[in-house]
Structures are given as structure tokens and as C-alpha cells.
């Protein structure tokens, strides 16, 4: 072939294609030195050259990997030439003609490339003013497949950019309905489809400029009835892309008529792809993708939009949410449980602190701790306060202890352990010497009123002259101090031991191991006498800073005219201050006695002298100067002598002794040795190794407490008691309380009985035992006293309150039953019942529980419905009865010793309160029978009521 040149620049290398619009040459661009495509178009261009040049320049600026570069455009010999990149490869129509099919994934990849190119082409960013370009002839023939298996969109018809009339591609099957002037848009008229053959020819169409006309120049062979003017836009390209993909996938060219296009099979192709293609080929352009980017996105998001992906994501999301929720719930639940456990533990600790404080006598602290264990505000993070907390509060408040007796009042905190204590006769003030100081304490408030410097010796003493004045061993010497006025009245010479005459007018003082005593006029401080001990001195330890063995006796008589003193040499002497030369030696030097106690009681002088082996007790009539009584013992005598009597303690017995007759009136008789004792007008306080106890003047036990440590300092006066120890920095204050306001009935305390009951109407009280019973009216009148016959054969007694009235049923071993009226004690019936089961096993029932009470073994409560064990009850006693009292249960027990007591229980049988001396329960009222011959009654307090009481108590304190 002869060399052919076009425009003197392009050397034609080959003619590679021809179509209805022109020929396509492969040429060599001589200047660029590269192969280019020359597309020769014979159709006339009606545009002005300058406009043409401008548009070519714009096309030359199109740069995209899937669009061939346009280099130039020129006209030669009435032929329009477009110069563009030569794209190696083959157009996709050729393999289609060969019957080749492409896998879906490959078609998608090409679709994406094609749409990227179209998106670029359509975007209104090219030229000035910026505008986009429509390809208008997208079809497999215009897609080149490169050696790299990419596609390239070729065959741009620049005439479309110009709006030329007759240069628009219209390939059958690929062209959109708009190409044929058909308008299936939402607001458009449906037009009749023109009849053209379904081939690949480019159909040249002319459009009328006037939109109202519906005429169009068509192919001569065609015939149309009526066509509306429609301008192809980007959506037309979208249609063509869809049709092209349709062909590539199915191998079949789509129908020319858009409405006759068969939808691709969803069994053969992915439903998403079918939908994309169907949408892009919608006859109605308004229902197609409105931009190439939109269709591109549809392909780019195939993975994400696939229903399987969505289902999987949804499943994952649901699963994650569900399990996360469960995890959060689990963690929240565990956290809640942990907080509740922590608060429950805290409440238990606070309850224990309360118990400990109560044991130490710190009532205020005990109530405070108990209230903290019973918070008012509740939340789901806080555990319900345990029964122990309510019990601690009940114990601290002592609401169910209606016995008359001494109760813990307060505790005095001292800087160090006390060495000597004294209590005023009205019981309102106390003095305490500790470590070189004297503290004056208000008993009611337990506050230290003032602190004064004292002699630094454990021998230092303090005495009350009256309720407001004290004599004590001050730092500068013996000192009298007026508490009310807060000032010193007088002071004398150094002193440690101090004694005051009964009339309070004279005081004797000795300083450590000095060999004399100084006697003062207490009113003025004037020295009235100096008593020479004759080079003898009282017992003094080597180190007298920390301990006072209390081995010495120093005493003045009623008017301070006689002074009794013991000495380290074992002698004991009475000094007559009015007759100094008179010597009354009661014990000689070398007696061997090392410990002395005693004093004056009226005209008598009573003392005890002890050594390691024996103890002697002597009573002397000082007026007659004769011994009126006395004995020795291997036991240890302890003596206190006062104006109101002589009190002698030995081992476990404390008596008041008549110095004339020697008669002894028991004050205390217990089973353990008595260590210390103190006596007031009405009560006696004693300590043992384990306890301290209070007795009334009839030697009846009032109260008893366990002590943690030694109480070697004791004082009692006017209903107040003071206990201290040289091992503790605290002094415990006990206060006598009586509960006569709760009194229901009083009887002769000497009448021996086991149980007491009240009739339901409250009018009659019965006190009974196996031996017999008494019936009283509530006002106190004895109605009947009955002896039960054959008492030794009695098996059991039951006080019954029912519709038939109140009665006492006596059950004998042989099954005989005798019933006595609780009103008048008359015999109501006598009948023979069944022989009894001697195991003494009993059962009690409440609304929800069954209680078992075996004779041997632990009583237990079981759930009535399920039979499950709810709780074991008190194992130290025999359960005699269970009463339901509202929301509570009251269990009554009898100990081996025959003591009756009760327990207040909640619905879970947890102990809320101990009820000592409980004898009866009527509705929600508890009745107690005290050994003092008192029947007292109180209602059951709810937790809220207890808390109110506790708060009020804290406030008043």
C-alpha cells in the first residue's frame, strides 16, 4: 500500500475500521513519534471553526486512564479527522460475535472502569464555562479491551458536545429510548416506538428545534407516527452502559425496544447485578441511575449491599449487642452483688463494734454504731441490714430489759489509767487520780470538769468532804478544792494518804514513808496536830509511781480525835489526838501482817490484818478499849468500816456485822470469790474475776455484767457506780434504773414459782409450778392459792387461752389431765387422756413455719410448705413455746437451771432481741416476770421505732 499522509503529519499505517460515519486509520504521528488513531468522519460539521477549535481544546484536556487521549481535530477535504490515542487490543464486540462469554466478576470490573470514565466525562468540570460531556454511543464495539485486561471507552463523538443535529450515535439495543425520541419519563407522553432494524448501525437522526413539534428526520426505511423532542443526557449513557453489560453477561444483545428487554435470570447472575442492570435500563430515565457516579457506587458497594453481607452484619450486630448486653448485665449484677456483700459485711462489722462498745459500757458508742448499721436510705446497692444490726441496737438501747438494776451509763476516757477514785455521796461527781493529775468528772455527762496537778505517786489519794469539796494529794501538798467555785481553798504540807473524819471537820495526811501524820482542820487548813509514829512508817513500795498495793490502814474516827494507822513493821496502833501520850497498840511490831484494812464505825474500830497464810479480823470497842469480836481464817478478810456499819468480806461472802452482837447480815452470797466491793445505802457492788454484780439491800441480785479486765477500783453512791482499773484508761459509769412505768403487777417475791401468765382479758395473773399455783387479780388481791395433788407425778403444765377461757392444764405421767380456772383456781375438769410420749418432743406452728422442739437436740424451724430447714434455734435451752406476734415470732425457752427467757425472731427465725425473764406474750405485748416480784409489760418495737429511739438518745446525749 502506498504511503498515505494526512495533514502532512500523520502517516497512515493501516485502515483498521469502517462504519456508517467514517473510517478509522492507524497512523503514525510524525511529530509525537507515536501511533495514533485517526477517525475520519464524512458527516458535515455545521459549527463555526472557532467554536470547533475551542471544543477540541477541551477534549484534548480530558485525561483519564480509561479514555483515550484526544490530540487533535482537523478538517481536510471536507473530512473531519479526530486524532486520539491508539489503544491496543480488541473491541469487546468481536469476542461476543465469536460467542465468548465473560464471567460476572470480569464484567463488573469493566463496568466500574467504564463508569469511572463516564463519571469523569459527565462531570461539569471541563472547559470554560465548565460543562460535562455525554458519550451517547456506548456499546461493546466502543469498548476496547487492552492487553492488561482493562477497558477503554473509545469513539467519542464530539458533535454531541456541540449539540450537533446529526451526529448522534444510536446503536440498536444499546441506545436508550431517548435516542429514538421516546419519552417514558414520569411526566412525559409515551411515544410510539419507531421501527428500525436491530443492528449496530449508527442511525442518524435530526431533531426539531421547536419542542412542540414532534417530527424528526429518520432513517428512510422507518416510519413513525409521532415523536417528541428528547435530548439524550447522562441517563442515556447509563442506559447504554446497562445494555452493554447486559450483552457482556448474557451474550445476547438486548431488545431495541426498552420495554421488551428480558430481565436477566437471577439464577444465573447475582440478583444485585440483575437489579443494577435492570435499573440502568429502565425505559423511564427518571427511574434509572441519575448519574454515572450513582451507578458506579452501586458496583463499588456490591459487597456491602449484598443481602448476605447485610444478613451477616445484622446477625453479628444482634449477637454483639445481645452478648454485650448480657455481659454488661452480668457485670452490673456482679457489681451489685459485690456492693451488697460489702455493705452486709459492713453492717455486720458495725453490729460487732456496737456489741463491743456495749460490753465496754459505752452506750452512746453502741447506739451510734448500731444506727450506722441500720441506714435509713436504701438502694439496690445496699444490702438489707442484717438481723444482727437490729439486735445490736435493741441491746444497746436495752428496751426489753425492764428489770430494776444498774445499767451502763457512760464511759470516761482518761489520759492514763486511774490510781485512785472517789465518788461524791450524791453520785454526781467523781474524782480520779492518774499519773500526777487529778481529774474531776461530771458523772451525768462523763465529761472532765477540770484537771489539777497531783502528787506523782500511786499512793496519792482524794476524798470528798461533801458533794462539792475535795481533799486531795496536790503537787504542792494536801489541798482542799471547791469544785463549784473552781478554786483552791487551802493547801498544806506534802501528802499522799489522806483520811477524813466522819463529821468532815478533820483530815489526817501522811506523805509516803514519813514517820508522822498531820491532822488538819478541814475548814481552815490549820494543822491541829502532828502525830509522831515513833520512827515507824507505813508500807511503801520501792517504786510507788504505778501501783498502790493498798496495804495500809489510816483512819480517823467520827470526830477526828482518834487516828488508826498500820505500819510496815506489822504493828497497828490507835493514836489519841487529845491524849498524845496514850498508846493503844492493837498489833505489835513483828506481827508478821503485811496487809491492813479497816476503820472506825461509831465507837468501834474494826480491822483485818493479813499475811500470806492467814487473816485476822478484830472489832474493838474504843471507849472500853476491849475487843468485842473477831476471828482468824485462812481466807482473806476485807473490811470496810463506816458510820453506818462494819462490812466484812471473806471469799464469796459479804456481810454486815453487828459489832455488839456479832450478828452477820448477808449482803452478798455468790459462788465465786469476791474481789472488791463497795456499798451504798441501798445497793452493793461487788467484783469477781469474771463479773461485776449489783445487789439490793436484801441481797437480791439486781444486775450482773461480764468484765473484760480487772475492776480493782469500785465506788457506789446514790444510784451511781464507778468502776475503774489500773490496766485501763477508762472509767465505767453505771446508773441505777427502775422501770416502774412498765409495771403491770407486783407480788410477793418470796413466792416460788416457775412460770407466770396473764389471762387474755388482763384481769388475772397466775403464778404456777408443778407444786401449785396462785391466782391474783390484776389489782393485786390474791384470789386463790392451790396445791397441785401428786406434784411428783406431773409431766407438764400448759396455760391455755382459748374460747373456753383461760385455764391451767396439769398433765400427769399416766395421761390424766386436770384443768384449773385461771380466774379463781377452781378445778374445771379431771379426765384421763392418752398415755404420753415421754420424749417431751413438741411441735409448734405459725403461719409459715413448723418448729420442732426435741428434749435432746437443737430446736429447729422448718418451712411448712417445702419442709426445708429454715434455721436452727437456740441450742442452749429447751424450747417451750412459740408465739406469732404480728410480723415477729417470740420463742420461749427454759434453761437447765430453770430460768425462763425469750427471743424475738423475724420471719427467717433470726434473733432480733433477747428477752430475759419473758413469761408471756399477748398479741404484740411482751410480759416479763422479774425475781423482784414484778410483772412488767412492753410492746414489741419495730425497727423504725428503735431507730427513732436511738436517734433521740444520741441527740439528748
Amino acid at each position: 500500500m502506498a504511503e498515505e499522509w494526512i495533514a502532512s503529519t500523520y502517516q497512515v499505517l493501516d485502515r483498521i475500521g469502517a462504519g456508517g460515519g467514517g473510517v478509522v486509520y492507524l497512523a503514525n504521528h510524525t511529530r509525537l513519534g507515536k501511533q495514533v488513531i485517526l477517525k475520519a468522519d464524512k458527516r458535515k460539521i455545521s459549527t463555526r471553526p472557532e467554536l470547533l477549535r475551542r471544543e477540541v481544546d477541551i477534549l484534548k484536556d480530558l485525561h483519564h486512564p480509561y479514555i483515550p487521549q484526544v490530540y487533535d481535530f482537523f478538517v481536510e477535504n471536507d473530512v473531519v479527522y479526530t486524532v486520539m490515542d491508539f489503544i491496543a487490543g480488541e473491541s469487546l464486540d468481536k469476542p461476543l460475535r465469536r460467542g465468548e462469554r465473560y464471567p460476572q466478576s470480569q464484567v463488573i470490573q469493566w463496568a466500574i472502569q467504564l463508569l469511572e470514565a463516564l463519571s469523569y466525562l459527565h462531570s461539569p468540570t471541563h472547559g470554560d464555562p465548565p460543562r460535562g460531556y455525554v458519550h451517547s454511543d456506548i456499546k461493546p464495539a466502543n469498548l476496547m479491551r487492552t492487553p492488561k485486561n482493562n477497558i477503554c471507552l473509545i469513539d467519542f463523538n464530539i458533535a454531541l458536545a456541540l449539540g450537533e443535529e446529526n451526529v448522534i450515535g444510536c446503536s440498536a439495543g444499546y441506545a436508550s429510548p431517548e435516542h429514538y425520541g421516546l419519552d417514558f419519563s414520569t411526566d412525559g407522553d409515551t411515544a410510539t416506538q419507531e421501527n428500525t432494524s436491530d443492528d449496530d448501525r449508527t442511525v442518524t437522526m435530526a431533531y426539531a428545534e421547536d419542542e412542540t413539534k414532534t417530527m424528526a428526520k429518520a432513517h428512510p426505511t422507518s416510519s413513525i407516527s409521532k415523536v417528541k423532542t428528547v435530548v439524550p443526557d447522562v441517563r442515556s449513557d447509563i442506559y447504554s452502559v446497562g445494555a452493554t453489560l447486559y450483552h457482556l453477561l448474557s451474550g445476547k444483545r438486548p431488545a431495541r425496544n426498552a420495554k421488551e428487554v428480558q430481565i436477566l435470570s437471577e439464577e444465573e447472575f447475582s440478583p444485585q447485578i440483575v437489579k443494577i442492570i435492570a435499573k440502568s435500563m429502565n425505559p423511564n430515565p427518571d427511574l434509572r441511575y441519575q448519574s454515572a457516579q450513582e451507578m458506579l457506587d452501586a458496583f463499588l458497594y456490591l459487597h456491602e449491599n449484598d443481602p448476605r453481607t447485610k444478613r451477616l452484619k445484622k446477625r453479628c450486630l444482634v449477637g454483639n449487642i445481645l452478648f454485650s448486653a448480657c455481659l454488661i448485665c452480668g457485670v452490673a449484677t456482679a457489681f451489685t452483688g459485690l456492693k451488697r456483700m460489702q455493705t452486709a459485711e459492713q453492717y455486720l462489722k458495725l453490729s460487732e463494734y456496737s456489741r463491743n462498745a456495749l460490753a465496754d459500757g459505752d452506750i452512746e458508742g453502741a447506739v451510734q454504731y448500731a444506727l450506722e448499721a441500720l441506714p435509713e436510705d436504701t438502694s439496690f446497692l445496699k444490702s438489707t441490714p442484717p438481723a444482727e444490726a437490729q439486735k445490736a441496737l435493741t441491746d444497746a438501747l436495752g428496751v426489753y430489759d425492764l428489770a430494776d438494776g444498774y445499767k451502763s451509763h457512760k464511759v470516761v476516757e482518761l489520759p492514763s489509767a486511774p490510781l485512785c477514785m472517789a465518788l461524791s455521796t450524791d453520785g454526781q461527781k467523781a474524782c480520779c487520780i492518774y499519773s500526777g493529775n487529778l481529774a474531776i468528772v461530771d458523772i451525768q455527762t462523763a465529761c472532765i470538769i477540770t484537771t489539777l496537778p497531783a502528787e506523782s505517786s500511786a499512793l496519792s489519794e482524794v476524798r470528798f468532804l461533801d458533794n462539792n469539796r475535795i481533799l486531795y494529794a496536790g503537787k504542792e501538798g494536801i489541798e482542799m478544792y471547791d469544785i463549784e467555785n473552781g478554786q483552791s481553798v487551802w493547801h498544806g504540807k506534802p501528802a499522799t494518804s489522806i483520811q477524813v473524819s466522819e463529821d468532815g471537820r478533820r483530815a489526817a495526811a501522811v506523805y509516803r514513808e514519813e514517820t508522822f501524820a498531820t491532822v488538819y482542820d478541814t475548814a481552815t487548813g490549820e494543822v491541829v496536830a502532828k502525830v509522831d509514829f515513833g520512827k515507824r512508817h507505813q508500807q511503801v513500795t520501792i517504786n510507788d509511781l504505778f501501783a498502790n498495793p493498798q496495804d495500809n490502814l489510816l483512819a480517823l474516827n467520827q470526830d477526828g480525835t482518834l487516828l488508826g494507822a498500820s505500819f510496815s513493821d506489822g504493828s497497828l496502833q490507835i493514836f489519841d489526838l487529845e491524849e498524845p501520850d496514850k498508846e493503844i497498840r492493837l498489833l505489835e511490831v513483828g506481827s508478821g501482817y503485811t496487809h491492813f484494812e479497816g476503820g472506825f464505825s461509831g465507837k468501834y474500830f474494826a480491822f483485818s490484818a493479813s499475811d500470806a497464810k492467814e487473816s485476822a479480823f478484830v472489832v474493838m470497842d474504843m471507849e472500853e478499849e476491849i475487843q468485842t469480836g473477831g476471828f482468824t481464817s485462812e481466807g482473806f478478810y476485807s473490811v470496810q468500816a463506816r458510820e453506818d456499819g462494819i462490812y466484812l468480806k471473806v471469799d464469796n461472802l459479804l456481810v454486815e456485822m453487828d459489832p455488839v452482837t456479832g450478828e452477820q447480815r448477808p449482803l452478798v452470797t455468790i459462788s465465786e470469790p469476791i474481789r472488791r466491793f463497795a456499798i451504798s445505802d441501798t445497793h452493793t457492788l461487788i467484783t469477781t474475776d469474771e463479773e461485776f454484780l449489783f445487789f439490793d439491800q436484801n441481797a437480791h441480785l439486781l444486775s450482773r455484767y461480764t468484765k473484760e479486765q480487772g475492776s480493782d477500783l469500785v465506788q457506789i453512791a446514790n444510784g451511781m457506780a464507778l468502776l475503774g482499773s489500773s490496766d485501763l484508761q477508762t472509767m465505767r459509769i453505771m446508773k441505777y434504773e427502775n422501770h416502774t412505768e412498765a409495771e403491770r403487777f407486783a407480788y410477793d417475791a418470796t413466792y416460788s414459782h416457775d412460770e407466770a401468765r396473764v389471762s387474755e382479758d388482763g384481769k388475772y395473773i397466775m403464778l404456777f409450778s408443778f407444786e401449785g399455783f396462785r391466782v391474783y387479780q390484776a389489782e393485786g388481791e390474791l384470789v386463790a392459792e392451790v396445791e397441785i395433788p401428786e406434784a411428783k407425778d406431773v409431766y407438764d403444765q400448759q396455760y391455755i387461752r382459748d374460747e373456753e377461757g383461760a385455764r391451767l392444764e396439769v398433765i400427769y405421767n399416766d395421761g390424766k389431765r386436770m384443768g384449773y380456772s385461771a380466774k379463781d383456781g377452781s378445778l374445771l375438769y379431771e379426765e384421763m387422756g392418752e398415755k404420753l410420749d415421754k420424749t417431751l418432743y413438741e411441735e409448734f406452728y405459725t403461719d409459715t413455719l413448723r418448729m420442732e422442739s426435741p428434749l435432746h437436740g437443737t430446736p429447729a424451724a422448718y418451712d411448712i410448705k417445702t419442709g426445708k430447714l429454715v434455721r436452727e434455734l437456740s441450742k442452749d435451752a429447751y424450747l417451750t413455746y412459740v408465739t406469732q406476734a404480728g410480723a415477729y415470732l417470740v420463742a420461749q425457752y427454759v434453761t437447765v437451771e430453770g430460768d425462763y427467757y425469750g427471743e424475738l425472731l423475724n420471719a427467717q427465725c433470726e434473733v432480733l432481741a433477747k428477752l430475759p425473764y419473758l413469761c408471756d406474750v399477748i398479741e404484740e405485748r411482751l410480759i416479763f416476770d422479774y425475781p423482784t416480784g414484778d410483772l412488767r409489760e412492753i410492746e414489741i418495737y419495730s425497727r423504725e421505732e428503735l431507730m427513732e429511739i436511738g436517734k433521740k438518745q444520741i441527740l439528748t446525749q
Partner: protein, 52 residues
């Protein structure tokens, strides 16, 4: 009984949380396997995911 309830709540919560955690881990593992399988299937159908 109150103390027992608190412990039941605490340990029950731990149990629930533990089981939830195990179930979540199992669920994640299964989901991951399903995702890989599905991805493989989708790649087979649609080709590799194109970068946006």
C-alpha cells in the same frame, strides 16, 4: 438468708458475665469464619472489592 442472696447475685452476675464473654468470643470467631467464607464467595461472584 440475706447474705446468701447477696452472694447469689454476685456469683450469678459473674457467671452471666463469664458465659456472655465466652459466648461473645465464640460468636466473634464464628462470625469471622462466616465473614471470610462470605468474602470468598463474594469475591468469586463480584471480584475483588474495588477501592472507592
Amino acid at each position: 438468708m440475706i447474705r446468701l442472696s447477696n452472694e447469689v447475685i454476685f456469683y450469678g452476675g459473674i457467671l452471666i458475665a463469664g458465659c456472655s464473654l465466652l459466648a461473645m468470643i465464640l460468636h466473634l470467631c464464628i462470625s469471622q469464619v462466616q465473614k471470610v467464607r462470605l468474602h470468598s464467595k463474594l469475591v468469586q461472584e463480584y471480584g475483588e472489592k474495588q477501592k472507592k
